[in-house]
Point group: D2
Chain length 324, copies 4
């Protein structure tokens, strides 16, 4: 079954290769009568623009969103919202030498295993550029969450080798993302628990290697009496005294902050010479020149937040459905 659709009720379908004509997303299920224009999307898209720091690619991605359907007189119609970004600076000269080579850490080999061929230009569909579509959809989801005064915020925990680019190398890092004031009661046990769907959403982004909710691995080293969050009454409402669980109990949001910690691997594209093999099973040496991020973190944060927003809105609609 094809894998380019995410969400059940707020459902996004993305398409596009790194060096193809364009990248896009179709959102089906966005409620009608909702104010939306291209500026709402562009604002989020600009957050994943490269060239904002010394960790990012020098490819000029002045991505400009175009809304093709689903909006009429600046209001959503309830019909599918199709959005596109045209690929303008797709410098295909960089990639011809990689035609038959499986780059270490990349998806060339596994795409070849799966499909029998692959788009060797810039990684095709496996490129991080694919996330443009996620951010466009995330912008719509975030606007819906605004109505609930729900905010998503992130902070960098660590980037161990910030100057790795100078050595032709790259660095990993860790991010913490928090959902503040999330809607309560979201999550559909026993399989579509909110944490399960958030984990899927985040691990579907390239480069993610680890994930924790609340105390995460630290919980494993605690006794129950220390790990349990005591229920208390605060301002007449049920709250928890601590938030070791990270805002989700039994797969359902309890209204406390949702706290997620995410491990991001160092980018696989490095200029340093590497050994690998090609399609003919020959050993070869490669240097991946071109314009690459030496750290994914600055540009992956808006993508992580987008996937979280999409998941939350999807569950909002799911929770909505069962209230007769």
């Amino acid at each position: 079954m094809p894998g380019n659709t995410f969400g059940k009720l707020f459902r996004i379908t993305t398409w596009g290769e790194s060096h193809g004509k364009a990248l896009g997303v179709v959102i089906d299920g966005c409620p009608a009568g909702f104010l939306l224009d291209e500026k709402d999307i562009q604002k989020e898209l600009d957050k994943r623009k490269p060239g904002l720091g010394n960790l990012s690619s020098t490819r000029k991605e002045n991505d400009k969103v175009e809304i093709l359907s689903g909006v009429f007189d600046d209001k959503t119609l309830g019909t599918p919202i199709s959005m596109v970004v045209w690929n303008k600076d797709a410098n295909s000269k960089d990639y011809s030498n990689l035609k038959n080579v499986f780059r270490p850490g990349h998806a060339d080999y596994t795409y070849y295993l799966k499909y029998g061929l692959w788009d060797y230009k810039g990684g095709g569909r496996a490129s991080g550029r694919e996330t443009v579509a996620r951010v466009m959809a995330g912008a719509v989801a975030k606007k819906i969450l605004n109505k609930y005064e729900t905010l998503i915020e992130s902070k960098v925990i660590t980037i161990p080798f910030p100057e790795s680019k100078n050595e032709g190398d790259s660095t990993g890092g860790i991010v913490e993302t928090r959902v503040k004031n999330p809607p309560k009661g979201l999550g559909e046990p026993v399989f579509d628990k909110l944490n399960a769907d958030l984990a899927k959403a985040i691990f579907s982004i390239g480069g993610i290697k680890g994930l924790e909710f609340g105390l995460g691995f630290k919980s494993a080293n605690l006794k129950g009496s220390k790990n349990n969050d005591e229920f208390i009454i605060k301002n007449g409402k049920i709250r928890t005294k601590t938030n070791n669980a990270g805002g989700i109990l039994g797969g359902i949001s309890n209204g406390e902050d949702i706290i997620i910690k995410i491990a991001v691997k160092p980018p696989s594209s490095i200029e340093k010479e590497q050994s690998t093999v090609n399609k003919d099973l020959k050993k070869v040496k490669i240097k991946i020149e071109g314009r690459h991020d030496s750290c994914l973190i600055p540009r992956i944060v808006p993508v992580i937040e987008s996937m979280i927003a999409i998941t939350l809105v999807d569950h909002l609609l799911r929770q909505n459905a069962i209230k007769l």
Copy 2:
């Protein structure tokens, strides 16, 4: 949208409350003509039996599987396989004092938020007992994986407080599970990547707080040149020299072992007195007496392996579909 179905082509639907009449699963999509009998299922079910060690509940769960449909003359028909385990030792006397109380760390409060009511007897659907159904389905999936000589093995990394039960407390722990010789080419980018679906599968189990693939959080502390797995030729086949990625590249299995590390929280049910609140927003003290596991690890391992097996078989069928 309801959340009790998992998988797309090998699709399981589970049902049942901890202290209801029975627990069950319907598997839809199991290929036909495949030898299957109750012994295949019982063997796996026995692995999650409590009372095997000093960490487990003393509830006698001599769960006995009954196959109700989908098998004819010991062969699968291609029609839905319905399996049931009857609840025999559901001692409902234990729970009457918890009728209106939200137990810390449990799902009572969030179920109440979501549904407006909850089954207070033993946690109802939020009980770990729900996993009986997952293990029955996992047994069928494992039998299919046998044909591919794929094995799933687990080892305990740590259980920090093995004697916590004596203090009326509980302990967390960490497990590592490996899929040996997994089928290659499984995973459906960009959202249904194999790691994304495995993460969802595992986080859908109660009590999981952290997850890593391959080096996991350690990858975040490496440079790309150290983290990338070099492709090599070994016995005429493409392999990787190291397996830092944990067997999945670009969301697709590359044939190396799939390596997953999982953080399990300490069980929330402890005999020690705890503060909490009830439905009337009053503060109360509770001691959760009864028969509880002081550590989830021994009994959660077959559940983790089952969810992994189900996910792999689902993706096997998905990969199968696109080969015309």
Copy 3:
């Protein structure tokens, strides 16, 4: 992808063979806090009982529903509702002579084509007995529709050969079903239009060969000026003067009666001798003795109504979801 689940938000999964241990259904997505007990189900189940007239099988199907999960203190929990009917009068002696024979009009041959084997006892999963599970689920859906004062009523248009049984033969017939006072605004263009999903629901029942909405084939013989339903104001509300469309415009219910006409074929099981072939490609003669309906209509009506009710409730929840 497996085909034993119907509906998206009010989702039913059915299982069971005609001569297996039992037949059942799991309903996932039923709203919580809703009064439900076995009598609600039994009442509907009794409507498809055979032996009520001279057109029906003499098999004693005193089907008795048992609710196994999802209901607590007579209220729905929001968790899956599992219901079962045990097969008691499955007289398997009748079928041994049919082991390798493809009965004309039956699914033996196509199941063999698809799955490589088939359950020759009473048609297995392809038996009309499968519809027991649909009626159990339909009973729950009908109870939800009661809250909206929506009624489903049917009348027989024709049964051309009511005495066909005496000749060892069978008869077809035509039924008209009306949904009175349906909820407005149901249907999800452009593919999940209400009429499209109703058509699927009804054609999924064995023996249906034709279907019309509103004027149906008669519409094809009209000019637009005669076929269009004029909008008028009646009691301060927008209504249509005629109802040629049958209550659905652009795939969405407009509040007028939904009118459906259904052609039912004569049952394929007849006592008259027939020519056919067997698995070894040999020509054989068969007489299908045993207890068969000579007309499907009396017992298919509650099944049709159940499938309509399930589809309407599913669309009710779908419409609910998008109202933020």
Copy 4:
């Protein structure tokens, strides 16, 4: 749940309003390594071009397909195929007088009921123009069916008032479509039977009011002994002597021609004056001037064939999946 996606494994998502910027489709699940270019699509698209006869609109729809993703070096990549047609001749002046009026027979009123607003320009998403996207996807499906030597052919049974346009009126009609040499074994009981999914596919097209498989309503007037198709051996293969069933038994294709008869209503847009109401509940008279088809048949035939082709390919992949 949103309704703009059709199919499970060969899955299409369509978008676009009649007078918006563009119309498009994303196909997810198309097998990789398959030759495809824009000419394959254009050929089918030209079949639904208006102005080919005196029954069609004079709107110049020189629809030109553009493939935006999923194809690399003229081969499918296995990634989503995004295709677009730009709206060029969207003469929006025609529609301003209809801003608040509910046109009889149209979806204006029901879209308003459902979404609280509607795109009054040319019907928006409810326009027949939406089917452009279906035909683009159908072209890909037809190309896949070519490999199986499966053909889809249609003939007009009746168009009762071919000169209705001159009177400012419109006419309905009946079409018969046949699938010749369909793959065997397609269809997933008990809900996703091939006939059920074909019925949904066809009824999802605007203007369809009736549908029959094989003898259809005539079957209802036959005895079983006449209606049953006798199995015979022909050229060493199992065939049926007659094909009253229309190629599907028990919801699964048996290899005989699939025969479908379809009733198409007269177009609702007519120049003749009609009575109706507006949003303010006032009675008004309207004449729908502009460029409209006076009969849907010539242009709906490629749409019907496309939906059938898409359904067959989807079921081909579904059947593929379960063959381990």
